[in-house]
């Protein structure tokens, strides 16, 4: 592990040496923390890491860290943001339309009303797309088939309750079919749904325009419609509206601050985001990732979020994803019941055979190591209790020491020395070098 730490340090030193010197004159934001409520590779992770890079290269901030809090399409991150970041004036979280959908679908107790709005920054249009070999030449062809037998048409897209499904619902609603009859196939990752669409596994695909731009350009897919209000320059794709489907939708992304930030901090964050969207580096990024510039701040942004929330809730309710049923034993499908029955049967059989064996077996010499297991169990209990109160370093030192005591009779002092050393080392490695925060606890001032 020490070797790993040394080589990592080496790498960071090399990187630091290669980095350009910070600008002298401009007032820079000292340290910004960006929360991506998604796993690495997810949409908000991409947004956050791109913002990180723009803020650094435009020298608007001295240091920017990105922290991932993945889970349930952003609602876990939202909950964590509200509870743990209360009043932190140096923290922003990525959010957007998908989070509104997730809040409704997973019946999140917290909404975007529980955080401090800063600004909407980008938007991406959605497209209805088919592979070139598809029988559907136009949106009309497709809608005729859909209206004739709604359930026979499969719509492929991203996760349940997300932008793609919202669009499917809006389109169905606009052409007079009950959105509840949309046979929507939710794929878990962007890549998975893209390959299902390209391979013609579903009747029609819904996706963000940007991800499909290379495929459109090369002509292996056909865009039936785009969810923008007007046609886009340089893209031969008719809008939904001009083909008689009165729907417009944009997958927007925004930045929010924690609840309870001071007015001065809020103004500072707003100024930072405002300066960022004006920077040439940002314009370049918008072009590169095919994002629309949708900067909107202040009260107008708050009103916008309220309107979108109402629209999303209404359509998801019709789609039936907001039933948010908690599945338990009583309403589980055949597969969960099969698994649970299998578990019960094998457990019973294994217990029976173990009991038979234990009656036959001669007691093994020497009792089990209760003392050793007890010491470790105590270490684990202390770790769980202390880690967020006293901090990671103290809790881990205790855990290490008690574990070492369990195996060792001879060297309590040596073990204590290593316990503190390893805990500090792990803290430095994760929290400092890799910027994966660990609880600081009572040592907050020293770490």
């Amino acid at each position: 592990m020490r070797r790993a730490a040394v080589s990592l340090l080496l790498g960071v030193l090399v990187a630091g040496w290669a980095a350009p010197a910070p600008a002298a004159a401009q007032p820079v934001f000292p340290h910004l923390r960006l929360i991506a409520p998604a796993a690495p590779g997810g949409g908000w992770d991409q947004t956050a890491r791109v913002i990180q890079q723009v803020l650094l290269s435009s020298k608007l901030a001295r240091t920017v860290s990105v922290e991932n809090i993945p889970g349930a399409a952003g609602t876990i991150g939202l909950a964590r943001f509200v509870s743990a970041e209360q009043g932190n004036g140096d923290t922003l979280m990525a959010s957007g339309l998908i989070m509104l959908g997730a809040i409704a679908t997973y019946r999140s107790a917290l909404t975007l009303g529980d955080v401090t709005p800063i600004a909407r920054i980008t938007g991406e249009y959605e497209i209805l797309v088919v592979p070139t070999a598809s029988p559907f030449q136009t949106l009309d062809d497709f809608l005729v088939a859909f209206k004739a037998d709604p359930e026979s048409i499969s719509w492929g897209g991203g996760s349940a309750g997300g932008t793609d499904q919202i669009l499917a619902g809006l389109v169905a609603d606009a052409v007079g079919i009950d959105p509840g009859r949309v046979n929507y196939i939710a794929f878990s990752g962007g890549g998975e749904s893209m390959s299902a669409i390209l391979g013609g596994q579903v009747s029609v695909g819904i996706n963000g325009l940007a991800e499909f731009a290379p495929q459109i350009e090369s002509g292996i897919v056909r865009v039936l419609a785009i969810s923008s209000g007007e046609r886009l320059p340089g893209l031969e794709a008719p809008t939904l509206r001009e083909q008689g489907v009165d729907v417009e939708l944009e997958n927007w992304r925004s930045l929010v601050a924690p609840p309870g930030v001071r007015a001065a901090d809020r103004a500072r964050l707003e100024a930072l985001v405002g300066a960022m969207v004006r920077s040439p580096e940002w314009k370049e990024v918008l072009a590169r990732y095919r994002w629309n510039d949708r900067y909107l701040a202040g009260p107008a942004f708050v009103r916008f979020v309220d309107d979108e929330e109402a629209r999303v809730q209404a359509i998801l309710h019709q789609l039936g994803t907001t039933r948010g049923e908690a599945v338990t034993l009583t309403n589980a499908g055949p597969y969960p019941l099969f698994v649970l029955a299998g578990l019960a049967l094998t457990a019973a059989a294994a217990a029976l055979s173990a009991w038979r064996r234990s009656r036959r077996a001669v007691a093994t010499a020497g009792g089990p190591g209760w003392r050793a297991v007890g010491l470790i169990a105590a270490g684990i209990a202390i770790d769980v209790l202390l880690v967020e109160r006293a901090g990671f370093v103290i809790a881990s030192s205790v855990l290490f020491w008690l574990t070492a005591r369990a195996f060792d009779a001879g060297h309590p002092l040596r073990d204590a020395f290593f316990a503190v050393g390893v805990s500090f080392g792990a803290y430095g490695l994760f929290a400092r070098l890799l910027e994966l925060p660990l609880p600081q606890g009572v040592l907050a001032g020293w770490l």
Partner: protein
């Protein structure tokens, strides 16, 4: 063919400079170092290290990527072998025989076969990527939910060779994993399933929490349980230099087979590089002359899956580069990174920016060589970890396990789950219940269920979809043969 070679030569010409080789080395070192840490998988490793490359020109940055990517894919196996704590899901299988080898003092050999296997398979797969990418990518598009379901069933058959000494206890382990896999949002409907109103459970139980808990924490508790019962036999390291002639002889075929299994399965966007390792392990055990050694330190059980893992890493790049489809989290991170340098993966990539693509592909070859350069000498050094006094080793394992699990989602619940799973893992060892079927169940169960339901939903509720599509039928037939084949063969030879 000759055009490809010429383009590749130009890519090498751009990539092969002394500073670039330095960047490749830095990339491999960083990738391996961060990938080694438990709980930090390849996707996070690459995401964390991306900012380091921001200041470089595209060519050097790609060189470093190649290193980081392969280094991150390889790093996980080190902890797997040495301390029985897989760094990421793709090295779970490695832990079974790899750690047994380390316990027998053959840690250096296990690490060496992993490193050379990774290199051989990585290089072969990169060659395959160079010459067959477009054709393979369009073939992969024939895979729909029905085919993926069949593929998960094929991977499930690996359970047959992982069951351990008793079928009943093996199945118990499998069902434990499947049951854990039920927890979380139903991907198709968005309903919360068995999450007991706890929001952190909405995304299910993280595979890494289960793996680190069962393996690292469980092992520590079990050793404590046995402490004082059996006399401690100190581990003697057989050698620090790597593999014996015998081990070379037993390794090279698994490397090649691992590459052949890993690359095509990596191309398919299903379960990342985990499924190839399962399939490879199963294949090696089925083909082995001494299947009884598997689970007790068979070198084939390390060589095959490690090769498959790295070949899959190259396979993932096929749909990414040729179709612009990111088929794993790591690929999605790479996609963002490529765009950073004006490289837009997609069908037109090879025509639009041949210079960048071929430099990237050349970088992959270089990264692979650097992986070997770095890790061969290190194998002997790492193997000495086994000489650390047990009290300190186990103390360190618990601290690393807790920090790894906590930083996955920064959630106390994960920490509590980690220790609970550890207690279960200890009990499973005491009662001789195998661990890997549980992990397999947690990974494959949800995948399998989702693909099954998607296939049925697309077909409008028609179950014949699984017997009318040729690829699906073939895969299911192979799965059936793998399960019943040995038994049928025995019957047949008995009758004769």
């Amino acid at each position: 063919m000759s055009e490809t070679l010429e383009a590749l030569r130009q890519g090498f010409a751009l990539a092969l400079t002394l500073p670039n080789l330095g960047w490749a080395f830095v990339g491999v070192t960083l990738g391996t170092a961060v990938g080694v840490l438990p709980g930090i998988g390849p996707a996070l490793t690459v995401a964390l290290l991306l900012p380091v490359t921001f200041t470089l020109d595209p060519t050097s940055a790609f060189i470093m990527f190649g290193g980081i990517y392969y280094g991150a894919m390889y790093g996980g196996s080190t902890t797997s072998i040495l301390i029985n704590a897989p760094g990421e899901t793709a090295s779970i299988i490695t832990a079974i025989d790899g750690h047994m080898m380390a316990r027998q003092g053959r840690g250096a050999a296990a690490l060496t076969t992993a490193a050379i296997g990774s290199f051989v398979a990585g290089t072969l797969a990169t060659l395959a990527l160079t010459f067959t990418a477009p054709a393979l990518a369009s073939f992969a598009l024939h895979f729909g939910p029905a085919e993926y379901f069949a593929l998960t069933i094929l991977a499930f058959t690996a359970v047959a060779v992982l069951l351990g000494s008793s079928v009943m206890r093996g199945l118990l382990s499998l069902f434990m994993g499947l049951a854990l896999g039920l927890i979380g949002i139903d991907q198709l409907t968005g309903d919360a399933r068995f999450s007991f109103g706890i929001p952190q459970l909405l995304d299910g139980i993280d595979v890494m929490v289960l793996v680190i808990g069962l393996f690292a924490v469980g092992e520590t508790l079990y050793q404590a349980w046995r402490h004082g019962r059996d006399e401690l036999h100190a581990i003697t390291l057989h050698d620090f230099t790597g593999m014996s002639r015998e081990e070379w002889r037993r390794s090279w075929k698994p490397w090649l087979r691992g590459a052949a299994i890993g690359f095509p399965l990596g191309v398919l966007p299903c379960g990342g590089s985990v499924i190839p390792t399962f399939v490879s392990y199963m294949t090696e055990r089925r083909l082995s002359d001494h299947p009884e050694q598997f689970g007790h330190g068979a070198i084939e059980g390390v060589a095959g899956p490690e090769a498959a893992n790295n070949a899959a890493a190259a396979g993932v790049l096929v749909p990414l580069l040729t179709l612009g489809v990111p088929s794993s989290a790591t690929a999605a991170v790479l996609l963002t990174a490529f765009q950073q340098y004006g490289l837009q993966p997609g069908p037109l990539l090879f025509e639009a920016r041949p210079d960048l693509v071929w430099t990237l592909i050349a970088s992959l070859y270089i990264g692979n060589v650097m992986l070997l350069v770095l890790n061969l000498p290190l194998a002997g050094v790492w193997a000495r970890v086994m000489l650390v006094p047990r009290p300190l080793l186990f103390g360190g394992i618990l601290v690393l396990a807790s920090v790894g699990a906590y930083s996955l989602n920064r959630s106390m619940l994960d920490l509590v789950l980690l220790y609970s799973v550890g207690a279960v893992g200890c009990a499973m060892r005491v009662w001789d219940v195998p661990l890997v079927p549980a992990v397999l169940g947690l990974i494959l169960g949800p995948l399998s269920e989702q693909q099954f339901r998607r296939a049925v939903a697309i077909a409008g509720g028609d179950l014949t979809v699984f017997v009318t599509r040729p690829i699906t039928v073939t895969l299911l037939a192979v799965a059936a043969f793998v399960l019943a084949g040995p038994w049928l063969l025995r019957r047949w030879t008995m009758v004769r």
